[in-house]
Symmetry: C2
Subunit: 247 residues, 2 copies
């Protein structure tokens, strides 16, 4: 049976897993779990992942279920024939450094970016109010994290994390997270991202290394951004809080 | 050159790494970085880890520096001869599940436990005020995480995570996190932990599997708990906020 990937392309780790499969020629079936319609809370999806999170994969004749995108990327890199070594090097030292980036990501870039985007832009599309105070707190973590990527993780000669000349699963995971900032107001996005030139270069290098899948997977962000703008305008005109879902 | 482990035993991931080394007979030098004295902010330690976090290891003639405790545990399990397979199984599927637990830990148990302990007990020892509102938010995440460990990660026949009969690095990491609750008031600790009988059993099984190192490494918590009680009493008597460090 084909690998099943339960995903919502609005979820940054979902995109990372799908891009990885496409770039590496891993055959899979993409099954949409629409977070804006709360399909992740359905009893059917709870059977697949009691944590109710995407992405989740089912492999090995339906017997092997796995969630958490970093664990999924590592599994796919190790289990799939033909995945180039640079994605998750067999070398113990290189692999350890990639694990270190991935672990760091959880409490730093991911936390800052996900909470900032939710509280400053995405909340209305999920039926939640915007929260400027939470957004301000998250922006501190996000900006510090981008600064650390710029000054530390991108130290070295190559354009990718850890000074590599080719991308790893860590580049894919972090860049998909940073791309979530595309749904923000231009002003917010530029204030946060533009000071970090090497981070901007990392995005371009990762896009180039994963063409055409990178742009295909991120197309949804620009549609949602336009929809959020409409919701804001409607909210301003009627004085109502926008509360509908993204689709 | 011997492996160097930069650690503070008050840090739960530091304890996990040191217990792992001791249980597996890995020779190492423990170098204390006293967080309460802000030694992690020193220029010397910044050279070793720009993120200024413990634990950090230096291996391979001083050339290989690594931080993030999960990455360290995986590196040590793979690089050290004689580490039993159950700590980080070579089997692809078992290893993927352990990675999944470790990734889940970051945004769930670790986030809830670390923030609850800081904001409800430990802050005065670090010169910070207690924050009951942040503690209340953290308690929700902490209790939900303990519930998920009880009902999902401890499903199965064996007493360890993922139904195993022997511990993995995930058991060590999560149990060291839960042990941090020992510094809390009895009332807080019991309210949060006592509903989770299988979690309490997991702590005992992990203690038994790593004797005598588990108790040796956790002894500091009971000293700090007594010190925090003194600080609270002193604060109540004088009306001052306690502000000194733990040592």
């Amino acid at each position: 049976m084909t690998l099943k990937v339960y995903a919502d392309r609005m979820s940054q780790p979902s995109r990372a897993v799908i891009i990885f499969c496409k770039v590496n020629g891993i055959e899979f079936e993409e099954i949409k779990v629409d977070l804006s319609k709360r399909q992740n809370l359905s009893p059917e999806f709870k059977e697949i992942n009691p944590m109710r999170q995407v992405p989740t994969i089912v492999d090995g004749d339906g017997r092997f279920k796995l969630f958490e995108s970093h664990a999924i990327l590592i599994y796919l890199a190790c289990a799939s024939p033909g995945v180039a070594d640079h994605w998750y090097p067999a070398d113990l030292f290189k692999r350890a450094k990639i694990n270190s980036v991935l672990d760091w990501h959880h409490s730093n870039l991911r936390r800052g970016a996900a909470e900032f985007v939710l509280n400053s832009a995405l909340a209305p599309a999920l039926g939640l109010p915007l929260n400027p105070q939470a957004a301000a707190e998250a922006e501190k973590i996000l900006s510090a994290s981008l600064g650390m990527i710029e000054s530390f993780w991108l130290k070295g000669n190559g354009p990718f994390l850890l000074g590599s000349s080719q991308p790893s699963i860590a580049d894919l995971s972090l860049v998909c997270e940073i791309m979530q900032l595309e749904v923000l107001d231009e002003e917010d996005r530029n204030r946060i991202l533009s000071p970090h030139k090497k981070v901007l270069q990392l995005i371009e290098e990762t896009r180039n290394a994963t063409r055409p899948h990178f742009d295909e997977l991120h197309a949804i962000l620009y549609k949602v951004k336009a929809r959020l703008r409409e919701l804001r305008v409607a909210g301003t005109m009627t004085g109502d809080k926008p509360s509908s879902t993204t689709e």
